[in-house]
């Protein structure tokens, strides 16, 4: 009896563990971290991305200067990105850059409306767009930040 009980639960657990997870469908509101096609890295971690956007890191691992580009202040994309990645409100981020200017002269990444164009045009640049704005072959994707519906 115990043996059957044991076999039953073992089988149940095996099915649970080995069964394929239901794949999440891509959402058009996912945020894609994109880079200029000249950048030689093909992926990036979130801590590294955060360090780039806070200007704690100024060069790619493979060499070459990083140019971080932000979405325009006040846009939903910018708001989601800075909360998701930087963990800061807009006011806190602005305070951070005011402090950085006084400490070392560093200033916030420049802002653009058309980030796809900006990343396409600027060597070494990295930024972020919504999946629905992505165009195949123009820039490369380094990371996907899924957004729950």
């Amino acid at each position: 009896m115990m043996r059957r009980f044991f076999i039953f639960w073992l089988t149940f657990l095996a099915i649970l563990v080995l069964s394929p997870r239901h794949a999440r469908a891509d959402s058009p509101d996912d945020i894609l971290v994109i880079a200029n096609k000249g950048v030689s890295v093909n992926s990036i971690t979130i801590p590294e991305l955060k360090a780039i956007f806070l200007k704690q890191k100024a060069h790619w691992k493979s060499g070459g200067r990083v140019v971080a580009l932000n979405a325009k202040e006040g846009t939903a994309l910018r708001s989601v990105f800075q909360k998701t990645l930087l963990g800061m409100s807009l006011a806190k981020e602005k305070s951070y850059w005011q402090d950085q200017k006084i400490r070392t002269g560093l200033s916030a990444p420049p802002e653009f409306g058309n980030l796809l164009k900006a990343v396409f045009s600027l060597r070494g640049s990295v930024s972020y767009i919504l999946r629905k704005d992505y165009r195949e072959g123009v820039v490369k994707i380094l990371l996907v930040l899924p957004q729950s519906n």
Binding site: T45, P47, E48, K50, A51, Q56, K57, A58, H59, R65, V67, G87, S89, A91, K92, K94, S95, W97, Q98, D99, K101, I102, R103, T104, G105, S107, P110, F112, N114, L116, K117, A118, F120, S121, L122, R135, V138
Partner: protein
């Protein structure tokens, strides 16, 4: 009778026969007509059937044709739709390519030549409370409620190329206008004691008053201090060069240094006493390594004129150059960040004086060399400094601490100034040579940002600071333990409001047992 019966029978039979006789033809006629009718109808039916068949066939063919036409139409339609989509895609692509290549991207900083100015200033209001007649009034600690302005710092910056930039920081001040120039000494002759460095017997304040001859308007110009001005070359994260005048890369406070950045209003004692040279003139190599994505290792190597107590090291009076090494390790997590570092500094401070020898007045001047100028070491000492720092930020809390140790080892010494002797309680006529000195200073700041930003749109951070300061053994009467409590309010990223109370307890009673202060400040960054 039988004949009647026979007639009746016969009649019956006759009727039967007649009936049959006539019914048969009728029947036959009917049959004939029905047959003929049937034959006729059947032909019609056949004809109809054939026609129906024919129509059915035609209908089937029509339907087939219609289907073929529909299929053709569908194929045509699909083809046209595809062509239309391709055309749209081509148009969009062309428009996209045009949008991607037309027009210039206006990039600020780092990718183009760009010059800009920014800075900060502050306005404070408050007063100090200390014992009447305390020498603390010699240090500009206002004993009346007053507005005062300590900082107006202007930065200029230019990115000449991707890797070359310059940064300058100028500090504007009202000083020296209004500062104490000389004091009246009770009991000292009116002509003063020049040999002891005491001149005159009248209190005077510095005035920079100048009259504009064009308007007769009186101006009181202040001063400009160059806090930093340097070229920066940044080719790699791990290797960068600074050349010029730069803030010493040590600790937390010296790097933060601006009133909008630091939490309290008052500077800590070790900054006021410059236990570590706040700025240096020379060069610096620095960089950052990333052992992991969340771990940063910073280093900086400095070489400079060092620190000259009375001359601010804008010129070195010996060949010895001061060197320093900064090391720092930081962990940057999502909610927690920890950074710890140290800075070591060694330099030789040499102050010289020039003595003119004229023939006939000095043995060192001869007829052949009637004018000789001797440069004599007036004061020489080695400076050793070690500082450590720690910063922990987690869940809104901030814990900040620094410790500084300093040792001055004299090889050429000189008498301490007379006013120092006086403040030591010694006679101004007594010669006291400056001894070797050492000093210690340590402070802690604990702050917590209240989680109210979401509701008030304002960041509020109460803080508490404790400092134990023994900056220099020579100046024991200025050793003090400070307790500071305050609140830092940021209604905007550009404006910081501070309210602070402090108590300082002297380790010796020369200046009184303690002093207190209530201060407020508005710090603005722009």
């Amino acid at each position: 009778m039988s004949g009647y019966k026979i007639n009746r029978t016969l009649l019956f039979v006759l009727w039967i026969l007649i009936f049959v006789f006539f019914s048969i033809p009728i029947h036959l006629a009917a049959q004939e007509s029905s047959e003929s009718e049937n034959n006729g109808q059947s032909e019609d039916i056949d004809a109809l059937k054939q026609r129906i068949e024919k129509l059915k066939k035609e209908d089937t063919e029509h339907k087939k044709k219609i289907q073929e036409l529909k299929t053709q139409d569908a194929e045509q339609g699909a083809k046209h739709k595809k062509e239309l989509e391709e055309l749209q895609a081509e148009t969009e692509e062309a428009a996209f390519q045009a949008s991607m290549t037309e027009g210039e991207l206006d990039i600020e900083d780092e990718t183009g030549q760009r010059f800009r100015m920014f800075g900060f200033f502050d306005l404070s209001f408050g007063r100090f409370f200390y014992d009447e007649d305390s020498p603390l009034s010699l240090y500009g600690l206002e004993s009346n409620w007053t507005f005062f302005m300590s900082n107006f710092n202007l930065y200029i910056q230019s990115y000449m190329t991707e890797t070359l930039s310059m940064l300058g920081e100028l500090r504007f001040s009202f000083m020296p206008h209004g500062s104490d120039e000389d004091y009246e000494y009770e009991g000292i002759p009116s002509e003063g004691l020049p040999s002891q460095g005491i001149y005159g017997n009248e209190y005077t304040r510095t005035t920079t008053r100048a009259m504009d001859p064009g308007s007769s308007f009186a101006y009181y110009p202040g001063s400009v201090t160059i806090e930093r001005i340097h070229l920066t070359y940044t080719p790699l994260d791990w290797f960068n060069i600074i050349a010029g005048r730069y803030p010493t890369p040590f600790g937390i406070w010296n790097v933060d240094h601006g009133s909008p950045v630091v939490l309290p209003i008052r500077l800590p004692w070790f900054m006021l006493r410059a236990m570590v040279p706040p700025s240096q003139l020379g060069a610096q190599i620095y960089g950052r390594l990333f052992p992991t994505d969340q771990l940063f290792f910073d280093y900086a190597f400095t070489v400079s004129n060092g620190q000259v107590s009375s001359f601010d090291a804008v010129q070195d009076f010996d060949d010895n150059k001061a060197v320093g090494l900064r090391l720092k390790l930081s962990y940057q997590g999502d909610k927690v960040s920890i950074a710890g570092g140290a800075y070591g500094f060694y330099g030789k401070n040499t102050e010289t004086k020039k003595i003119v020898h004229i023939v006939g007045l000095s043995e060192k001047a001869t007829q052949d060399k009637p004018l000789q100028v001797e440069i004599r070491d007036d004061q020489v000492y080695d400076i050793y400094v070690l500082s450590t720092d720690l910063l922990i930020e987690a869940f809104g809390f901030r814990l900040q601490s620094e410790y500084i140790w300093r040792y001055e080892k004299r090889s050429v010494t000189r008498p301490i100034p007379s006013n120092f002797a006086l403040l030591h309680g010694a006679s101004p006529f007594q010669t006291i040579l400056e001894p070797n000195v050492y000093g210690n200073d340590v402070y802690f700041i604990l702050a917590y940002e209240l989680p109210l930003e979401e509701w008030l749109a304002t960041r509020i951070t109460p803080y508490f600071m404790w400092e134990f300061g023994e900056p220099r053994d020579l100046l024991k009467y200025r050793n003090v333990t400070q307790y500071i409590g305050g609140i830092n309010i940021k209604p905007s990223p550009f404006v910081t409001l501070k309210l602070e109370g402090l108590i300082g307890v002297f380790h010796l009673d020369v200046y009184g047992s303690h002093f207190r202060a209530v201060l407020t400040q508005m710090a603005v960054s722009f």
